[in-house]
Amino acid sequence: MTVTEMLGRNYKEIIYLALFASLVVPMIRPIGLPVPIDKTTADIYNRVDALQPGDVVVLGSNIGAAIYAEVYPQYIAIMEHVFRKEGVRLILVDHGTEAPIFAERALTELNAAGRKTYGVDYVHLGYIAGDEAAISGLCRDLHALLQVDYSGNSISSLSMLDDINGAQDFTIVIDFTASADSQFWLNQAYATYGTAIAFGLTAVKVPDAYAYYTAGQIFGIVESLKGAAGYEILIGRPGIAAKGMDAQSIAHLLYIVLMILGNLAYFMGGKKK
């Protein structure tokens, strides 16, 4: 068999096994490559770190099982950071049907009930259907939109919401998603009320968000597992994200090698398809 012939074959099974191995081996035996911290991530860290007592943080979430691995580590890292700031009020709201489960899970994992008082320091409003209309309603007047919070408590019984009506009272909003709700926050809160917005996104969503970032419309982006790993390091709480970065590196190398080999085959094999 000539080299050209060898490269010309379709090594589907071998490629799959190689990818699997390139992920598994570094997970079991980490190499410990340094994780660079993006400026977009650091911008969010600094903004959260500078929050003052009385400020209101809204964490929107459309986390579902499909994007859990990418976005949940960001969500929990930033939530932890917010909880460390004394007197900062936190509102959790969900834009996807699966998101409430992950919001509750994060609260349990961070022992929110033991550290803070529900209704005074933080609330979980739950999932609101209706896409852009839901976020628009929340920004207009959340008391008019909602009767009860996620656990069924009447909104009027939650004292921290007494002086919070809509987007003009939110200090910052960070939305964690792979869907269009980040755009909805931008359209409804930033464009309409000038509220400061940032996103925690899956990698695929980042390129267009970056154009918003460079135009100064959002103040930061946490980008996929990479950004989560950076944030974990910034707050000194390394977790799953930091652990997975070596596997990322090796698998990336594999893809690049595959692309180069594929092109070699193409050019050596007379450019046939």
């Binding site: 589907k12 099974e13 799959y16 992920l23 598994v24 997970m27 079991i28 499909a66 994007i67 859990y68 691995a69 990418e70 049907t97 699966e98 409430p100 999932y127 609101i128 259907a129 896409d131 852009e132 209309a133 628009s136 939109l145 909602l146 009767q147 009860v148 755009q183 909805f184 931008l186 359209n187 409804q188 930033y190 464009a191 309409t192 899956t202 990698a203 695929v204 980042v206 390129p207 154009a211 918003y212 460079t214 135009a215 100064g216 419309q217 996929s224 597992l225 990479k226 799953i240 997975g244 596997a247 990322q248 698998a251 990336h252 893809y255």
Partner: protein
């Protein structure tokens, strides 16, 4: 015990899905149907809670206090029910009213926000003083791509080779999307590995591989 069921169960389900990489098979189909049933059932549960919290509670309160605005939430409830008439040939036109309402709110909210954020905001973001090479490249580039999206025959001919350059820049942008999507998908696989790799879940991997090899072997026998 429940923890063990959870750990082994999740691992088995993940492996069942990954068998599609070998070929389409009943294990994958079972996984897929479980998943569709579960997500759709989940959506129904949330829909019920939503309708209760956002509409029925308001109507109820309106009845008690005599607030007409709150009682009016009967209307969206009726419109919501009308959505289901889409499936009826005879009454489909009634559903049009509900769709029209939802669509009009959605597209107006979307358009009015996008004009501000995407059109005005991005034009503003694109305006930079042309005092260095980078800024000049950016300005020329963004105009080239914009002109690629011009379709009228005479207009697109008048701008000459500019759209071609625009398409090249779009390809570079698509390269960025491609690279990022690789990072995203890998992160997801890493998340599943976090479930699979701890013992005893790990031991299911050789089991799955053995089944696949056995299947490949019987299939090659059959071919002979």
């Amino acid at each position: 015990m429940t923890d063990l069921i959870m750990a082994l169960g999740s691992t088995a389900l993940i492996l069942m899905i990954y068998t599609i990489l070998y070929r389409e098979n009943p294990a994958f189909r079972i996984g897929e149907h479980l998943m569709v049933g579960a997500t759709v059932g989940h959506a129904v549960v949330l829909a019920v809670f939503q309708i209760r919290d956002l509409a029925f509670l308001k109507v109820q309160q309106g009845m008690n206090t005599g607030n007409l605005g709150q009682m009016a939430y009967v209307v969206p409830i009726l419109l919501g029910v009308a959505l289901y008439l889409q499936f009826s040939k005879a009454y489909r036109h009634i559903a049009r009213v509900a769709i029209a309402f939802m669509l009009s709110v959605g597209i107006t909210l979307s358009a009015r926000g996008l004009i501000s954020v995407n059109v005005i905001g991005q034009i503003k973001g694109a305006i930079v003083p042309l005092n260095n090479v980078q800024n000049i490249v950016y300005t020329v580039g963004v105009v080239c791509v914009l002109l690629y999206f011009v379709y009228e025959e005479r207009l697109s001919k008048a701008v000459g080779p500019v759209p071609k350059v625009g398409r090249w820049l779009l390809m570079v942008t698509m390269g960025a999307y491609f690279a990022n999507s690789i990072m995203g998908r890998l992160s997801i696989v890493i998340g599943t590995l976090d479930t699979i790799l701890p013992a005893p879940n790990l031991y299911l991997i050789p089991v799955a591989l053995l089944i696949l090899i056995a299947d490949a072997w019987t299939r090659s026998k059959k071919k002979e």
